[in-house]
């Protein structure tokens, strides 16, 4: 993207700005978000699925415009910064539009939209006033090559027909970014900016195990103008793939946060819980399980940071590195939550403690934009075998 961003550090440690953001995000989210807040949203059946008051505070910190260029009212921060916020959202299970709007939509619009469209869309996004959602998946398992939702030229605009699933934040979004296949073209994908209230569009909120926002969309003869198409006809794929990779890396960062928090809570429990007259953390069977998990989380941390740096440095290996990060963080988080439940014993199976919440969120994020099977396959394909 811009020159300044591309010239930032490639070192696998945070620079000073990033350390400040890390500290700020950790302090803010653990005070204002946290598992108790997620329980409140879940148990009150909150219609929005997130706290608008919390979002306003996040906006005040500049997070809605973290990745948006300064000319549109954003901070123009590094993607490493987006990773830092994502990791803390994982640690605290914070529910907010940050991912769908400030990371995914900001990236896609910044990459794909015309100058005029950016001017039109980004300032309100950066101000936290316009919530967005990327509608891409159509099948239970992520597969961006299998998009069938059709865009048919119709007069001066287009007609959209088809369905989407697993669309994060769709039921609260003002604007949906809908990936469609232009009729008659096999390779050509387009992205349309479609208001949620459009006639013919039905948004069906789905309740998932993680108590977070997702929805299915049904498009039945939805009409949009020609100016709803972001960028040039049939040219969306490179920007879309880049956006998906950014999204994958940030999901990986959130998974890393989940893994780290579940692990920290488990190690603490190993030191507190006594059986046979001593802390269970004295038993080598548990020590070695904990030590192995520690190693997996550290490897995942390196993979995530390396991939974030690849985004900021416009590294040509971003696609492979994003897949590495998604696999390592997904598997580390999965191991972390499974081990957390096992090492907590019976109490780990109850809703009374928070470990289960981390387990459920990890399950959801592992699927989002491709699980480890998808990304291992993709890695091999990118490497030419």
């Amino acid at each position: 993207m811009n020159v300044e961003r591309a010239s930032r550090s490639t070192r696998l440690v945070y620079d000073e700005d990033e350390r400040l953001l890390d500290k700020e995000a950790g302090a803010f989210l653990s005070e204002h978000a946290g598992p108790a807040e997620l329980r409140r949203l879940r148990d009150t059946h909150d219609p929005d699925g997130f706290s608008r008051a919390l979002w306003r505070q996040m906006v005040a910190l500049g997070w809605a415009g973290l990745l948006v260029d300064e000319q549109y009212g954003g901070l123009g921060f590094t993607y490493a910064g987006a990773g830092i916020l994502s990791e803390h959202c994982g640690r605290t299970l914070a529910a907010s539009p940050l991912f769908a709007t400030a990371i995914v939509a900001a990236t896609l619009i910044g990459r794909l939209a015309s100058a005029q469209q950016r001017q039109q869309l980004l300032p309100a996004l950066a101000a936290g006033e316009r919530l967005c959602a990327l509608a891409i998946d159509e099948r239970a398992r992520h597969d961006p090559s299998a998009i069938e939702l059709s865009a048919t030229a119709d007069g001066s605009g287009f007609r959209l027909d088809g369905a989407k699933c697993f669309v994060v934040d769709a039921h609260v979004a003002d604007l949906l970014l809908v990936v469609a296949r232009s009729a008659g073209e096999t390779a050509g994908l387009d992205v349309f900016a479609v208001p949620r209230q459009s006639p013919g569009l039905r948004v069906e909120r789905t309740l998932l195990l993680d108590s977070r926002n997702a929805a299915n969309l049904h498009f039945d003869d939805v009409r949009v103008g020609a100016d709803a198409m972001l960028g040039e006809p049939g040219q969306a794929w490179p920007a879309l793939e880049h956006t998906l990779d950014v999204a994958r890396v940030c999901v990986a960062a959130e998974l890393l946060g989940i893994a780290g928090e579940a692990f920290a809570r488990t190690v603490e429990y190993l030191k507190q819980r006594r059986q046979f007259g001593r802390p269970i953390g004295e038993f080598q069977a548990l020590q070695h399980r904990a030590a192995r998990l520690f190693c997996e989380i550290e490897l995942a941390r390196s993979a995530v940071l390396r991939a974030l740096r690849a985004v900021d440095a416009a590294d040509l290996r971003l696609a492979a590195l994003a897949s590495v990060a998604k696999v390592k963080a997904g598997d580390a988080a999965s191991l972390a939550v499974n081990e957390a439940v096992q090492m907590h014993g019976g109490i780990g199976m109850t809703d009374a403690i928070d470990i289960g919440l981390f387990m459920k969120r990890a399950a959801s994020l592992r699927q989002l934009f491709g699980d480890s099977y998808y990304h291992t396959d993709r890695y091999a394909t990118l490497a030419g075998y």
């Binding site: 953390g281 080598q284 548990l286 070695h288 030590a291 190693c295 490897l299 390196s302 993979a303 075998y385």
Partner: protein
Amino acid sequence: MVISLGFPGRLTGERSDVNDPDPFRSEVRAWLELNCPSSMRGTAHQRHSPEDTVCWGGRRWVFASDDQRIWLERMAERGWTAPEWPREFGGGGLDHAQAKVLREELACIHARPPLASFGISMLGPALLRFGSEEQKKRFLPPIVRGEIRWCQGYSEPGAGSDLASLQTRAEGRDDHYLVNGQKVWTSYADQADWIFCLVRTDPRAAKHEGISFLLFDMESGGVSTRPITLISGSSPFCETFFDDVRVPKDQLVGEVNKGWNIAKYLLTHEREMISGLFGVGGAAQATVAAIACERIGLSHGRLADPGLRHDIARLAIDTEAFAFTLERVLDEAKAGFGSGAASSLLKYQGTELNQQRHELLMAVGGAEALGWEGKHFGEGALARGWLRSRGNSIEGGTSEIQLNIIAKRILGLPG
């Protein structure tokens, strides 16, 4: 116990900053271009060449070629066989960042390491920290120049994972110690010139508190060695026997009975060295994948065996994450918030990954990988390499010992 490959440092084959205007990088590049003989620049494939291409140096070393000798001499002249050691002891005097540049530029031209040396990877760091000025001046420069080859006298028949229970005794006499006992798993003891050796100087003290750190010549009277044949057929290790060996007292490093601290410090470097051996990034996996493509073939652009394809890709992913972790540990150390316990993580992960790599190479090779002798089977390189790799998670502290260290020192678990 030490690994028997000779590739210190990380070889990614990639430059991190291609357009870096850094004058030091330009200087290094130009110097290497001029001074690294072309036969000392292997391809990615040749980097996993057999041990006989490695240069160990030492009094009895016979160079495999003139180029091997010239390459060592030129690198030693600049102190770049030990890039970060002080210039006054023959080192390169480079800082972390410059050393990284040098590693990257060496990797970029696939340069063979000029010298494999336990003196550089293990003894040197311990001497720099614990040795007297006289000892540093005496022992470090010949290490840099590859003139003295060292071996490590640590393990004993009754002291493996429980190293501190070692029994080899050194009794103080007037101006010398009298050493008696036996070491085992001494890497290349039969070819080494000198040994750094853990000995018990106070048999009545608690086991960690009566140990000292001695240096002595393997040609001293009373030293004998016997090679151990491994399941791979090679004999990189020896049993080493000491029968009334006289060691001058000025060859004791640090304080008497305080050798365990030096031993532990050196073990950290041994772990780092071992993990560095396996920290080969993209190149190594490209080899597994490339061999698999060649032997098994592609079907519709994919490796024809889907199960192997998945496992090869999975190992490549894990190995990339490991390489990034090595890089992160270096960057963290440079930024001043490193943790010394990282070496256990790296040793554990690096060796496990190398073993998985050998398992996959065996699977890819199928029946051909079972060959043991003869040109057709490359003298059994695949099978022997696989068998040898099983020792990786034992030597230099078993995987279980590394997990103990992580659990106690990093996680703070009790007991």
